[in-house]
C-alpha cells in the first residue's frame, strides 16, 4: 500500500538488506532464537563468541541488572555474561544451518582464543562452514584469554596488532572485524593497531566495565549472586554518547570500516551512530528488552528518514556529522542567547530554577503570569534552560558573521 524504500547496504562486500545486525550476545546464542531474529527481519547475525577451549564456560546467574526510573528501567543494562557455552563444533553446524535457511542474510560468528593456533583454527573451521564474516572479541569486560589474561586484549596495542594479524592471515578474503573496548587511554591508537594488523573493520565498541548498583539495605552489588556481585558490562541507552565519541574519534583519524555497537535503542540512534562514521549498526539490548519485533520500526523509521531527507541509501549517512566535529579550541564563538517560544511555554518554571541556581540568573520569573523572562544582557547562552524545558519552548539564537542560526531540539 505504501512505497517501500530500499534500505540495503554494502558492508565489507556483504549485501545487507538493512543496516541492522544482531550482535554477538544472548539473542544469537541459541540456534532457534537467532533463526527467529533473522526471520523477523534483521539483516544478519553475529553468533555469540565461541572458542576451542575444552574447559566448559561457567556462566553465573543472575546475570543481568539494570538501572533507570520506573517505566524506563533499562536505561542502562549490565551483564556478567561470558562467551558462549557452545563449542566451535556447535557453532560450525549453526553457521551451515542458518546459511542454508537464509542465504541472503549475513551469518557472522564471533571468536575468542588464547594461542595463535586457536585463533586460526577457529577461523579455518568457520570459513569452511561458510561464514560471511568473523568478529574477534578483544574486549569482553570479564577479561580475555591468552595474550592479555585477566584484562581485555584490546587494552594492549601490541597484542591487538599481533592477534589481528594471526586472524587475518587465516581468514584471507573473509572479512574480519575486531571488537574493541572504549576503556582505553587512546582509542585512535587501538584503531591504528587493528588497521596495521590487517583487519577489514572494527566493531566499536563492546560493553563498558561498570558496577550497576548497590542494594543500600544489604550492600549487595547488582546483580547479586547469593549476596555477592561484581563488575558488569554496561549496555543500553546509557552508553550511546560514549559509543558516539568512540566511533567519531576512530572515523576522524583512521581509514577503516566501522560496525557501530553500543547504546543504539532506536532508528534515530542508529542514524546518529552512522552519521559519526559507522557503516552498519549492531543491536543487542533493544531486542533483549522489547524483542525482535523492534526491527519493524527500525526499518520503517530509517526508510522514512531517508525519504524525508532525500538520501538514496543509508550509506549516504555514513560520516555525515564528522565534518562538524571540532576540538574545543577550534570551535567558533557565536553571540548566543536563549529565546523563549512563548506559545509553547506551559509555565512550569524549570528554566528559572536552572538559570537561577546553576546558570547566570538571566531568567526572571513572573509569578502572576507564570512565565519566564529572559534578560539578554545577563544571558550568556549556556543552553541549560533549553535542556530542562519539558516542552522544548526554549531555543538558542546564535549570531555569527551576520548569519543567524538556531540551536533547537528536534524530535
Amino acid at each position: 500500500m505504501y512505497k517501500e524504500k530500499d534500505i540495503s547496504i554494502d558492508f565489507l562486500g556483504i549485501h545487507l538488506e538493512n543496516p541492522f545486525v544482531l550482535s554477538a550476545a544472548p539473542p544469537t546464542d541459541e540456534l532457534e532464537i537467532a533463526y527467529d531474529g533473522l526471520k523477523a527481519g534483521w539483516a544478519g547475525v553475529i553468533l555469540k563468541t565461541t572458542s576451542v577451549e575444552n574447559n566448559p564456560v561457567l556462566l553465573k546467574y543472575p546475570m543481568m541488572s539494570s538501572f533507570g526510573p520506573q517505566g524506563r528501567k533499562v536505561t542502562g543494562l549490565g551483564n556478567i555474561d561470558l562467551i558462549s557455552q557452545y563449542h566451535i563444533d556447535d557453532i560450525e553446524k549453526r553457521v551451515r544451518i542458518l546459511k542454508e535457511a537464509f542465504p541472503e542474510k549475513m551469518i557472522g560468528a564471533s571468536i575468542m582464543g588464547a594461542r595463535k593456533e586457536d585463533w586460526q583454527n577457529l577461523v579455518w573451521r568457520l570459513k569452511k562452514a561458510g561464514v560471511d564474516l568473523i568478529e574477534c572479541s578483544f574486549s569482553c569486560p570479564q577479561g580475555s584469554m591468552g595474550e592479555a589474561p585477566g584484562r581485555m586484549l584490546a587494552q594492549s596495542i601490541e597484542a591487538t596488532e599481533k592477534v589481528t594479524g594471526w586472524v587475518k592471515e587465516a581468514a584471507e578474503d573473509t572479512p574480519v572485524l575486531i571488537k574493541i573496548t572504549p576503556q582505553v587511554t587512546d582509542i585512535v591508537e587501538v584503531a591504528h593497531a587493528v588497521k596495521r594488523g590487517g583487519a577489514d573493520g572494527i566493531t566499536a565498541s563492546n560493553t563498558i566495565p561498570s558496577l550497576v548498583g548497590i542494594d543500600i539495605n544489604t550492600f549487595e552489588p547488582y546483580p547479586s549472586l547469593a549476596g555477592k556481585g561484581g563488575y558488569s558490562g554496561l549496555s543500553g541507552p546509557a552508553i550511546k554518547p560514549l559509543t558516539l565519541r568512540t566511533i567519531a574519534e576512530i572515523a576522524s583519524n583512521v581509514d577503516i570500516v566501522i560496525s557501530g555497537n553500543g547504546g543504539a535503542f532506536s532508528w534515530r540512534d542508529a542514524v546518529e551512530i552512522m552519521a559519526v562514521g559507522a557503516s552498519n549498526v549492531q543491536f543487542c539490548t533493544l531486542p533483549m528488552v522489547y524483542g525482535f519485533r523492534t526491527i519493524r520500526d527500525l526499518k520503517s523509521g530509517l526508510a522514512h528518514y531517508l525519504m524525508d531527507m532525500g538520501f538514496d541509501s543509508p550509506m549516504d549517512i555514513i560520516g555525515k556529522a564528522i565534518q562538524n566535529i571540532y576540538s574545543h579550541d577550534e570551535l567558533p564563538s557565536p553571540y548566543t542567547r536563549a529565546e523563549l517560544i512563548g506559545e509553547k511555554c506551559i509555565g512550569c518554571g524549570l528554566c528559572f530554577d536552572a538559570c537561577n541556581d546553576g546558570g547566570h540568573r538571566a531568567i526572571a520569573w513572573d509569578g502572576n503570569t507564570r512565565r519566564p523572562n529572559i534578560d539578554e544582557e545577563k544571558c550568556v547562552g549556556c543552553a541549560m534552560c533549553m535542556q530542562v524545558c519539558p516542552v522544548d519552548a526554549i531555543r538558542m539564537k546564535e549570531k555569527i558573521d551576520d548569519s543567524l542560526n538556531y540551536f533547537v531540539i528536534r524530535r
Partner: protein, 418 residues
Amino acid sequence: MQTTLSREQALLEAERCLYCYDAPCEKACPSAVPVSDFIYSIKTGNLKGAMEIIVEANPLIDICGILCPAFCQDVCTRKQIDSTVRIRALHRYIMENTDMEENLEIPEATKEKVAIVGGGPAGLACARELRMMGYRPYIFEKKKIGGIPAQEVSSARFSEGRADREIGFIKKHFAIDVINKDVDSIDELANGYAAVFISTGLADEQDLGIPREALEGVYKAREILRDIKDGRTSKAGKRVGVIGGGNVAIEVASALKAENPDRDVEVIYRRGMKEIKAFPDEIEEANELGVTFQFMAIPKEIRGTDKVEGIVVTRAHLGEPDESGRRQPEPVPDSDFFIPLDTVVIAVGQKADKVFPGIQRKENGLISVDENMMTSVKGVFAGGDIVRGASTIVECASDGKKAAEKIAKYIEGSVGNV
C-alpha cells in the same frame, strides 16, 4: 471510589510530575502542602521524608488524602501536556505506606492552657499546632471527636479505621485532654485558660421554607448521615427525594443508595447540571451507585396527610446570574408537577446554632472575626465553618493552623492585647 496505588504505579505517577518552580499546586492548596517536594521524595524512594513534608503541612493530612477536593489537581501544569498528576492518590499512597508515629518528636507542654471548643478539623488542627509550640490545648467536644469526617462522612468513602487513625493520632499526641462536654457559654472557660478557640462548625440545618416540612418522612440530611455512620438503619423509605445540589446532598443520596440499592434515590435540584456545587468526584460516585437527578425543579410543597406522599415542584428557567455567579432559577408559570415519594431529605445548607451569647455575629449567624481571627471578645478566637460557612476539611484545618499562630502571638502579648 479512589483506588490505592501500588508502589509501581506511584513511581510512574511521580515521574509524571514536572517538579515546577513556584508550583501552582502548592499555591492552590489551602494548607500550602509542598506538593512538588513530596512527589520528588517519592521519586527518590524517600517515603518517610514525603510523609513528614505532608504531615507537617496539614494536621488532617490523612483525611485530606481521601476526602480533599484536590484543588491542586485543577491547576497542575502537567495538564497542559496531557493530564493532571494524580496528586491526591500519591498523597494517599504515602499515608498508607508510612507510619505517622515514627520519629515523632513533640516538645514539652510547658506553656499556657488553651480551650478549644469543637473537635472537628479546625479544632484538631489548632490543638496540634498549639501543642507543637508548647501550649496545653484542651478540646471540648459534645459528640464524637473528629467533626464531620468522623461523624457524618459515610464509612464507604472513609473507613472508621482511617478516621480513627489520624484523629487518634492527634488526640494522643497533641491534646492534653479531650473533655466530652457541651460548652455553650464562654464564661464556663473564663478561669484557667489563656485563650479560647471556637470551632464548633455549623450545628443546625436549614429548612426549605415550604408547607408540611414537619410531616413524618421529612428528614434533614445530616441526621440521616449520622444514623448511617453510627451503624443504625436510616429512617428513609423506598422512594427518596433529596433536595439540594451541594456536597451534602450528593453524599446523603449516595449513602442512601448504597444502604439499599433497591431504593430509588433522586436528587432534586433547582438549577442545571452545570450549576451544581458538589465536587465532580462525588457526583460521579453517586452516578455509579445509581442515584438519579431531577434538574430544574423548584420545590413548592410537600404533600401528604399523616406522612409524606410526594413533593410538588415547579419547572425552573435559569435567569440572570446571582451573587454566586450561577444563574438564578425562576419558576415557569403553570409548570407544577408531582413526584411521588415516601421520604424527603432536605440538604439545602447548614447554619450556625445560637450558642455563645455575647459574641458578635453576622446576619447569617456566622461569627465575626478580625484579621487575627479574634472575635468581639478579647482572647476568644474562632475559625472553620462557624466563621466561613460550609467549607471543606482542608480549609478548616488551615484555619485551625493559622488560629494557633494568632493565639500564640496573643498570649505572648504581641497581638490584640495592647
